[in-house]
Subunit: 173 residues, 2 copies
Amino acid sequence: MKKSLLMIHTGNGKGKTTAALGLAFRAVGHGFKVSVIQFIKGGRRSGEIETAARLSDLIDFNVTGRGFTWQSDDLEKDAALARKAWETAKEKIRSGRYRLVILDEMTYLFKYGMLDEDEVIEFLADRPESVHIVITGRSASEKLCAAADLVTEMNAVKHPFASGISAQKGIEY
Amino acid sequence: MKKSLLMIHTGNGKGKTTAALGLAFRAVGHGFKVSVIQFIKGGRRSGEIETAARLSDLIDFNVTGRGFTWQSDDLEKDAALARKAWETAKEKIRSGRYRLVILDEMTYLFKYGMLDEDEVIEFLADRPESVHIVITGRSASEKLCAAADLVTEMNAVKHPFASGISAQKGIEY
């Protein structure tokens, strides 16, 4: 039995977004179309954007955020952006054009009450059969995990920031 | 402070190799060269090989294995291949040409006694300063984790194979 999956990458460790990008890396190799919605990250030119541009026949990459909400100067603006980004994501999912849709950092939008988790879960349950979904972000709720086919928790056993090593190009972004 | 990292992706969950591929996806976007050595996987055409071929100006992809050892008909042959693959990996690391070298599924070679873990740890400690390393595979030893800068454990909270959904193109390979 094969079916499209709703996958969650959660936990406090590295690798949640990175593993989603790895799935895109694989999917593209099979000629599958992939759409990425980065709900939170914004601004900084990232390695993933550049590589996606090289694979733009198959990867549709959308940066819809403007940085982390806990550094935000205007939460209302963030919430409006989040709702708009979700409308865009829904269109892309509904179209059935993409075999994989990555909803990056989406869990934070639930946590901050910017999106209605129940509505998202319901929408995803009714998506076209061929569309795999990955949702990334810390603290995925029990309800979201219950709705998912696959939940992986990335746990930091040892983290270099703790030893004073900073985020760096090609690793963290 | 920035320094190149020795990273371990371990645990019983999905995402160990996938997150390593995600790092390659990022690194390439910054114009960094990446070398991948897949010690175990062999045979099956994978999505990652195809995508790496599209990015071959920056990604050097090596499949050195011939499938999982627990299905092997000739462990001696596997061990010889593993030793040869490690020699290749050493050359690539030593050359300093690659900003990131992925040693995929390497932990199994230690577990099956096909490679000497101490020798590998010692070699990696003396590598050129600019070279990030990722080692993937279950059951990374305490010694290996102690030598690493970053250890992430990917834990399966919920896994679709358990519900009878098979491995599929673009997700597992």
